[in-house]
Amino acid sequence: MALLDVEELSVTFARRNQRPVRAVDGVSFSVDAGEVVGLVGESGCGKSVTSLAIMGLLPKQPGLTVGGKAVFDGTDLLKIDDRSRRDIRGRDIAMIFQDPLSSLNPVVPIGIQVTEVLTRHRGMKGEAAAKEAAQLLDRVGIPDPKRRLKEYPHQLSGGMRQRALIAMAVACQPRLLIADEPTTALDVTIQAQILELLKDLVRDSGTALVMITHDLGVVAGMCDTINVLYGGRVVETARRRPLFRQPRHPYTVGLLGSVPRLDAGRGERLNPIPGSVRDLLPWPDGCAFAPRCTRRIDSCVGEPPALVVTHDSRGYRCVNPAPLPGAPGEEVREVVPGSATPGSVPAQAVPDDPPAVPGLAATPSEEDVA
């Protein structure tokens, strides 16, 4: 059984006099113990909202509806009360955020921000907690940890801050770590170091990792399984190798085609996906990607595309997928009809879309796919 099983997760923000906005529209994926899973997609595709919904960290506001299931180790995280959720957060599931400076409290020393997790979940106090905190900082590669414990976030460099946040997240050896764009705010050399650190940590401790990113380079280097999101839905799920070798969903094909490659021939042009994220069809009316899709056929519009699950447990939501090179046919194991709640618009289609959750915006990265 999977460690985390997200089924048909949906998040809707309803606002007065406006059509409700579906930030997440039936996302399903699962994470096995020790596995590294990627959630990939453009800004506003619902990656961050998915993770915040699982953690129960969406800002409590009227009009917010969270549906579906997120079963962690037999418990549905969406159904439990606030107190049990606080017990699980930080101890069993921890999270790392995008911007390390704003994610740290500016007026509290790093030491206290680390030890407060230890005090809360492991009952450690005073000297013992400080010692453990220093060890944690040492483990994430912060030199001179004893001195750093007394310092404030503004006295640390960007990479150090992200390391400190990682130290807080792994303080209780959680079974699941969710990293929401952990390298976006850092420069490229530091990005590589932080990814390396995360890789080492999950390998050594057997922690499962959900890596949320817009950056295919990050996914290529780390993830076992990858879920590609578009318009608040998973449009393709596959293991890393098959996904990069033989992407089936035209959106995944487009994503891979728009990444600059070192091994591309001279003068070869990049192939951006035509149109913009605003050109989006609400799922009930068909495939959300159809307006931008190069392989669009008539049956793309009308009803949401079914989820096709193939023999190698890949899945894609497309009626006209990219063909497998050299293999004329494939064994389709299961077809799950797509369903969608009518009457709402996907988040990406909303003009001047104010991110319902801070930290949704992402900048494109120039890193290439290795």
Binding site: L57, L104, V107
Partner: protein, 334 residues
């Protein structure tokens, strides 16, 4: 730190110098003079001239100013024209009352304002929020003297819970040391005198607290709302910390920064006297005395009091700046 304090205190000197020039010009330009206040409308021009000569007001203004500066350097503020007592004595007798009143008002304003502002922010859009925002609007709008009279009518005259005027019951015959009546009572172990002085502070303190309270509620609420949206609060929640720790360590500490600034400014303002409240409750502080001195054209009192108030204001703000660096490590005093 020490250098910062010394530099700020040295900055006081040019500030006071400039203020004294402005004050001097402004006071002398007021129509009429102390002789009118003393003689009324009946004085003959000769009597007026005699008084002016007696007070040294007939000399050229530059000479008068020079004399004033010479005295100031020796920390001598002169003698009041109307009470014939040393200005310093007058000040030391009245200022403690104002300080006690200010402290009472600020304790009420902070003690109610910060928790109320915090709760309003947490219950945003619900009844408590609307009630406190609306209530604070009323608090700002309502004239202080009107509120003072209402408080006096209800709690003193109708219910008889609190005394209606003065700083202490004179029949107690309390010993005076510092003229801080509460402090004196505690120092001399005259507990009944201290309690009576506190009792006398409640109603004027409440009246005076109304505007600072309203301002603190609003600033706290706005500041907490802003901090609640900060990423680090989400981080704290993601760590599974109890609500109590999130609130105290992560939300309130950060939300207090703008509140601290406004508390400093409000305290400084209250210390310069509360004319209306002091008048309604016949409370002997500097406010009412200062107002009288203006109508009496009591130049030495006005000059002296306003100069000291300026010093106090600067000191209060110095303390606020120092406390700021305690709350926020990013602010380093240099």
């Amino acid at each position: 730190m020490i250098r910062f304090i010394v530099r700020r205190l040295l900055q006081l000197i040019p500030t006071l110098f400039g203020l004294s020039i402005l004050l001097f010009i402004w006071l002398r330009r007021l129509p009429g003079g102390p002789e009118t206040a003393i003689l009324g409308e009946r004085g003959t021009p000769e009597m007026r001239a005699a008084i002016r000569q007696n007070l040294g007001l007939d000399e050229p203004i530059l000479i008068q100013y020079g004399r004033f500066i010479r005295r100031m350097v020796r920390l001598d503020l002169g003698t009041s024209i109307s009470t014939k007592r040393e200005v310093t004595t007058e000040f030391l007798q009245r200022f403690p009352g104002t300080v006690e009143l200010t402290i009472t008002a600020m304790v009420i304003a902070i003690g109610i304002g910060i928790p109320l502002g915090y709760l309003a922010a947490r219950r945003r859009g619900r009844f408590l929020d609307h009630a406190s925002v609306g209530g604070s609007l009323i608090g700002i709008c309502i004239p202080v003297f009107f509120l003072a009279y209402i408080l006096k009518a209800i709690f003193s005259e109708n219910l008889g819970w609190f005394p209606s005027s003065g700083r202490q019951d004179p029949t107690l015959g309390a010993t005076r040391i510092t003229n801080f009546f509460v402090l004196d009572g505690l120092m001399t172990r005259e507990w009944d005198a201290a309690a009576d002085a506190i009792w006398h502070l409640v109603l004027p303190g409440m009246a005076l607290a109304s505007i600072p309270l309203a301002i603190i509620v609003r600033i706290t609420r706005a500041s907490v709302l802003e901090v609640l949206n900060e990423d680090f609060v989400r981080t704290a929640e993601a760590k599974g910390l109890t609500e109590n720790v999130v609130r105290r360590r992560h939300v309130l500490r950060n939300a207090m920064l703008p509140v601290a600034t406004s508390i400093g400014l409000l305290t400084g303002g209250l210390l310069s006297g509360a004319v209306l409240t002091e008048t309604v409750f016949a409370f002997s502080g500097i406010g009412a005395f200062l107002a009288d001195s203006i109508s009496q054209r009591d130049y030495p009192v006005l000059m002296g009091f306003i100069m000291i108030i300026a010093v106090v204001y600067v000191l209060v703000n110095l303390i606020v700046d120092l406390s700021y660096s305690l709350i926020d490590p990013r602010v380093r005093v240099r």
